[in-house]
Symmetry: C2
């Protein structure tokens, strides 16, 4: 991939990185015998972190629609990595929980993700890397803000 002006700006680079990281994750987890997509991995990590959690809340955490999550949970449930349990507080809701098998898989994925991360950071000053993460989080927060502003003015205008 060439480093030229307008075709190598922030958006392009981020898009490239996202595709490359996804492909690397697929490749390395595949080699390790773990058939897991990036989306499924994201769900597992977040379920582990956020404990038994309602699908709505989990979708919000992931920044995806409830319906999109529904399909991901279907697949993960089929693989035996998560379970849907009734929410005692609300009979409509289901709590997504990590199974033992799911926890084991997350533990296996963790070092793979860390490996990709350290490959990516190779040769970059650790302080620079920390600043990079801070700036990226700030950029994400900025874009989320401008998106929600656009949504609110839209609903005000319409």
């Amino acid at each position: 991939m060439p480093a030229s002006s307008e075709t190598d700006t922030f958006g392009f680079i981020v898009n490239d990185l996202s595709r490359i990281i996804r492909a690397e994750m697929d490749r390395r987890t595949g080699e390790a015998g773990l058939g897991l997509t990036t989306g499924e991995g994201r769900v597992l990590f977040n379920v582990r972190r956020a404990g038994p959690i309602r699908q709505t809340a989990l979708a919000e955490r992931l920044g995806i629609e409830a319906m999109t999550l529904s399909g991901l949970v279907d697949r993960l449930e089929g693989k035996g990595y998560v379970a849907r349990q009734p929410d005692p507080a609300d009979r409509r809701a289901k709590l997504v929980t990590l199974t033992d098998a799911g926890a084991a898989v997350v533990a296996q994925i963790e070092p793979i993700a860390a490996g990709i991360r350290s490959d990516a950071a190779q040769g970059i000053d650790p302080d620079d890397w920390q600043r990079l993460l801070v700036a990226l989080r700030a950029a994400r927060a900025n874009l989320l803000t401008s998106r929600s502003e656009a949504q609110s003015t839209e609903s005000t205008a319409a």
Copy 2:
């Protein structure tokens, strides 16, 4: 999106940003009456930059498979933004060129992309932003290297 340890590392953030930027691009280009997907946009920018170019070379530039590009070019050709011309040097090959309409669309997209970029960079020190870009390009180069190394050892081992 919460800022917690293992669920907010480099890969997760990059993935988030990629999704958010794509959604913002879709939204803003849609508002401007330009029905263009991110993939199509990438192709247009690269065709403008790399002039009449063979599909194989263009796919390589974009880091996607020739077949994937074929579909994108189909759609762009349908919209009248690019044309396939025979390569005088090789009758199998086709040169993808930007039409006048395509050039006009790229010119319209450019400020939209710049707007997203400036929204993202809001409140971040310009020097930090420059360092961010340098570090991101380095990370991308690192990952591309580790990928090609993995491919070569794979073929050696097998």
